[in-house]
Amino acid sequence: MAALHDLTVAQLVARLRAKEVSAAEVAQHFLARAKAHDALGAWLAMNEEVTLAQARSADRRLAAGEVAPLLGVPVAHKDIFVTRDFPSTAGSKMLQGYQSPFDATVVARLAQAGAVSLGKLNCDEFAMGSSNENSAYRVARNPWDPQRVPGGSSGGSAVAVAARLAPAATGTDTGGSIRQPASFCGITGIKPTYGRVSRYGMIAFASSLDQAGPMARTAEDCALLLSAMCGPDPDRDSTSLEEPPQDFTAGLGASLEGLRIGVPREFFGAGLAPDVRAAIDGALQEYRRMGAQLVEISLPRTELSIPVYYIIAPAEASSNLSRYDGVKFGHRAKQYGDLVDMYQKTRAEGFGDEVKRRIMVGTYVLSHGYYDAYYLQAQKIRRMIADDFQQAFRQCDVIAGPVAPTVAWKLGEKADDPVANYLADIFTLPASLAGLPGMSIPCGFGAAGMPVGLQLIGNYLAEARLLNVAHRYQQATDFHQRIPVAVDAAPEARA
């Protein structure tokens, strides 16, 4: 029989329902495994007592015959979601030890569906970054090569799932923060349509872009989790869509015969690394074999999405992060003179470099005299980018291409070059700016044996189709089943 950590969420649910294993046993197994592989740096907060209490509660619900979609399944949360039972830091010193009096809607809904929380996962500070190197607490390592980054900002989530320390995790995606680490770590992740999942309790980075989603090993598992996470939240989040919750597993398995896959030519330019390109091409051929037809499309403003995103996201962030002022909660400088000095020292000490950089950029682009030239202009182009997608979706049903131009890079390689980091977001930013759902699924390996992810982008609210397109691929291929064997070969060596 397979080890518990080799099971998918769907398989775990079946075992738990059949009472072949208890939720407490499952939770204990994953806690022990997470501790044994702590050197991967996936966790920021763990609390065995809390996790086991939740697991025992799930066992009671199971014993009572309750059928909840995720009853007894352990899930770990990106430390961007606030939680009552664990500290919530957003990977920032600013919120060291911060205890939220309420649970994020995503956390509450997963708990309602029966999930057991394994604690809080590492991420880039306030979700700003694409390597997890901006975490104020610890380095997160890619399970396929611990000298490489896991991607970001949901780096801890990707590490936990890829190393099978958790069956699934939550992530958030503002400009690619679910898709890119999923790609770098060889797992499956989906960023839903903006507004599909409530943002209440997600520590805000860029409000008009932030969206939560699941990260797991298979598309089917993502469908299970997303079904529990999504749905309107009108009393808490005004931007949540009215669209009722949906069972995304229901449509899995439908044939891809006649599916039109749009391939944007701008995603295959000179910046795309050959090893990534080869893997993506292979995936596209696989789809063709499955009956889909490939259609060349154009997303002409792909390059513009970088400056547009790096105006809008910092602008919103500069305002969203104003609340961290040392007055009400979080870090406050120990020594200060007057009020302004308190603000300055508190924020200088509490925020890391990348966060400060974005606050400064955001403050600048919103300033009097610059607003029209930057922010307003960026909003106009953002609308054009969304229109470009609508044009494209007249010719195709889904869009496919790379998630990132390269595989995971070495730790420290781009740490001193923020612009290089920004440029690597080029393929994930357009869907974020348009508010469209996007996925990353494992589709091969690059030169260094590092995973490559295929990005699938759907039209608004087309998550079910997207998940099915991913699911069918995973039935035909086994890239998603490959595991970073080194993790279990010699865990002590890295500890």
């Binding site: 939220s100 805000a204 931007t239 007055v327 403050t363």
Partner: protein, 480 residues
Amino acid sequence: MSSTLIHGYEIVIGFETHAQLSTQSKIFSRAPTAFGAEPNTQACPVDLALPGTLPVMNKGAVERAIEFGLAVNAHVAPRSVFARKNYFYPDLPKGYQISQYEIPVVQGGVVEFYLGEEKRAVRLVRAHLEEDAGKSLHEDFVGQSGIDLNRAGTPLLEIVTEPDMRSSGEAVAYARELHKIVTWIGICDGNMQEGSFRCDANVSVRKPGAPLGTRREIKNLNSFKFMQQAIDYEIRWQIEELEDGRAIEQATVLFDPDTGETRAMRTKEDAADYRYFPDPDLPPLVIASDWVERVRARMGELPRVMASRFVASYGLPEYDATTLTQGKAMAAYFEAAALASGQPKLASNWIMGELSRRLNAENLAMEQVPVPAQKLAALIGRIADGTISNNAARQVFDDLWTKGGEVDAVIEAKGLKQMNDTGALEKIVDDVIAANADNVAQFKAGKDKAFNALVGQVMKASKGKANPAQVNELLRRKLA
């Protein structure tokens, strides 16, 4: 628009008023808005700006904004936008205030009122929804400040006028009228001491025909009395500065009621860059026309509509109609008294005169008038049918006010019935003519004043019971 010059300067005043909307809960959260609770007990995670919290629009606040828009004949925008006004201050929990900037919910509109007998109209630029900040408490904390966030997130409607007012009197009259409107339609409790209705006055002076002068903004005027004092002081100060050859610098000033002076808080150089941008947490506020119509259908008669009706149905002068519609209670009282007595103008005179005088003297609200409208109507009936004189009626009214009782019983008990016995009156008139030969002679020589003196003597001799019209008539006949 006519204006009074002061030392050759024209006064220009515009207003910004923050009316606290009378919702049970806050504008973007469900925390209660009640005044006077223990610090920080009425602030929920949203008001405290805890990480992960988001604003959700309170529909009740929007409805109140719509009601205001309808009350001042403004355009209720089908789509308006919330924006963030960014600045750091300890009692501003998010580091920004959610307000409306480029597209407010209420656009245009006009506030009409009487300044003395003259009708005035002040145009509104806009009225927008926004949240209030908390309070910084500087007393009670040695070397530190306390923060009370109970008020944070309280819904406000900021009402902005064109610079249409030309005197402090007009400014106060506008503020009173606005206060009347918001309390009449019930969107604001109007309590100025508790800060529910706060006015900022933008004041500038200029030579007639010159472009607008540089303005100074007097903040937080929370009584009509201080408003008048503050503006008067500010006008004098600005004129003196200009006369002394100094330019006015744009500034925000505070009025100190103890010294009666205004002093600058900050000048334009300190003006912050608020970095306004549309709040991405709140979709545009969409108000469909059927929502506006539902609100309109539910709203009672507006004061200016009621005033026009009083003019049309009761034949009242505009001035009376406007005065009587200062508040719902007074208007209802008038209408009851007018209908019961069939004498609308007399009812109006009594309410605007004797009744208002006593209310003011005793500092009572209209709701506390001890004489019901039906009794005033009965009293007016007795004047109209000649039973008592106006003077006698005032005595009856005083009795009704202080002791209660019925109109006829009071007249009887005080012996105030007019002398309708012509024979008895004729005797008194004859006696007065006989005893006042001087006056008679003067009257015959053409001095009207002498006639009045004779009337007075007759009234005195009749102990006020004589009907003045009858006395006039008798005297004229006998002296002819």
